[in-house]
Subunit: 340 residues, 2 copies
């Protein structure tokens, strides 16, 4: 059965039924939700004072290809990248609004699987899919808005603009596996089954670090973001917006073991500039970093420090403090013709 | 200059500059906005307790073609359809998040004009463009999320599900001009200059009825929506969600004078099922309708009544109360193969 056969309103009925079955009435999002699917807009009554919202779109043949991603993975990832933006602020994600562009010949079963993936990650992180629209489109696109709130009554969040000279730079987890997964999928690379599964998971069903983001804010971390464009590119954003510089010790960067074993000498480049790891990148004074290391269960690695010099720039150095060079520094949706 | 030349971050810089110039610090949206463009997410601290959000996407060659719409009109309309959803609830729109899909060869000047159109309508209705993303895409699409709040501390809003038997059915303004404008543009129809301008305006730069929606809620109207799919189709939505029926007197429907003069005997069909008029459709007991007529400056026309019979259906009748038939009942994004 194609979506063109059941029509927009038939599709809305199918999806509304799935959403209704997945309500979790005792969780915050559903407790505070007053009007959801079926009306012109959603209505909610938040109990914490500071609200957060973000939007991101995934486009077929630009951000994904249906040749390599399953509909379930696509559903998971389209929500994950937005939940990660809320995690990057240290907030609580609560609601997702889904705007879905679909060719008329898309199978209804595929869209149900897509929503299944969204409901799976929504259920994992207590996020309610609370509205959206479905439109005809020559290609698939998924535009997701996630709304939530600051995790504390004071409205403390992490900002890209709050890094200070003398702050240490730290990252959660290990980097490079998402970019490695993308390369594996695009070039049909063959690796041992365990590595294949890990790379695929890293690229297609990443886990947003929501609790970790909240813990960082609670411990006093003021500057941070999630790693979506690549460590070097994203640290450059922090440098630009905070009007400071950074020294990044490439030898300290935590490279995914799977990536090391599968990509050898390219592993570091994937970790530095591959992007889409959705780990958290943050800066704070050394005493706060120590507290973070104790509080978080995931690895936390100090990879450099913020500097008053080199405003807006990241200087890559090795263990001896000597500058090193890299070819690529991140991922740009419309790559500029010249190197920046 | 193409967007592929300045890159995603170059484009974000250009647009951020435009947004900064258009801040209105004394208006509610900007007063309550704490973090906007440049961070992972926006943050705001609402002063009214009930929050409202809605999303809608416009896709090139489905909802518009760049052969007939200017970039400024496209910017206006993409925001207008979402502001109208907030108006349909009787709410106050405050923030717009814009997710923009663009081919790399789009001219930067065109995107600035698009944002100019968004800023124009945003300025008119005191709505801040407060975030978004820009992605590469084979076609232009614009996904807009509008966030606002209920216009009263009690959280009263209009619902599609709140119509009761005995309620009168009323609409603001006159209908059919947007559908007439679309037909004129698609078929290069020639009309007198004044009519041409009015039809184009109705289709491409509609005015969301925000104040009118707030007044309706304040006067006690509980059931309503905006007319986006067409009067008959949208009234059917109210019937379905309210589990009631409706009798609609087609001879009382306020048809746009311009549409009557340009489309003669087709005018009524355009008014009943053309869609995208963004007038308000609402139901209420007769005494409330009388108050609404006194309070609103725009025309308010009673076109029928809600009934306990014919649950989920709209019965079209003439002045004599005799049933009449129409071929089309609305606009469906994925038209189902059979007639519903």
């Amino acid at each position: 059965m194609k979506v063109s056969k059941i029509g927009e309103f038939g599709l809305i009925n199918v999806l509304s039924g799935m959403l209704a079955e997945n309500r979790q009435p005792r969780k915050r999002a559903w407790r505070e939700l007053l009007v959801d699917i079926g009306d012109d807009a959603m209505v909610w009554k938040p109990s914490l004072p500071h609200q957060i919202a973000t939007v991101d779109s995934l486009v077929e043949n630009i951000h994904f290809t249906l040749k390599t991603v399953t509909w379930r993975e696509l559903g998971w990832k389209s929500l994950a990248v937005n939940l990660s933006d809320i995690a990057a602020m240290g907030g609580i994600p609560l609601y997702a609004l889904i705007s879905l562009g679909l060719p008329g010949n898309t199978a209804v079963a595929d869209i149900k699987t897509l929503y299944g993936g969204m409901l799976e990650i929504g259920g994992t992180y207590n996020v309610a899919i609370s509205g959206g629209d479905t439109v005809s489109s020559p290609f698939v696109f998924i535009s997701v808005t996630v709304i939530g709130c600051a995790s504390n009554p004071e409205g403390k969040v992490m900002r890209r603009s709050a890094a200070l000279p003398g702050d240490l730079v730290a990252v959660t987890g290990a980097l490079g596996a998402s970019a490695g997964g993308l390369r594996m999928l695009l070039h049909n690379l063959e690796f041992p089954p365990k590595a294949t599964a890990a790379l695929r998971r890293a690229h297609l069903t990443p886990a947003p670090h929501i609790r970790e983001g909240q813990t960082l804010v609670a411990l006093g971390v003021k500057a941070g973001m999630d790693i979506s464009d690549g460590l070097v590119g994203d640290l450059t954003h922090i440098c630009e917006l905070s009007r400071v510089g950074a020294r990044l010790n490439v030898e300290r960067v935590p490279v995914s073991k799977t990536v090391k074993s599968c990509f050898q000498e390219e592993a570091l480049t994937l970790a530095l500039s591959g992007g889409e790891d959705y780990e958290l990148l943050f800066t704070a004074p050394p005493d706060i970093i120590d507290k973070v290391k104790t509080a978080l269960k995931c690895p936390v690695t100090v990879v450099g420090e913020m500097t008053a010099q080199n405003q807006g720039r990241v200087i890559l150095v090795n263990n001896q403090g000597k500058p090193v060079r890299l070819e690529k520094t991140g991922w740009d949706h419309f790559p500029a013709a010249e190197t920046k």
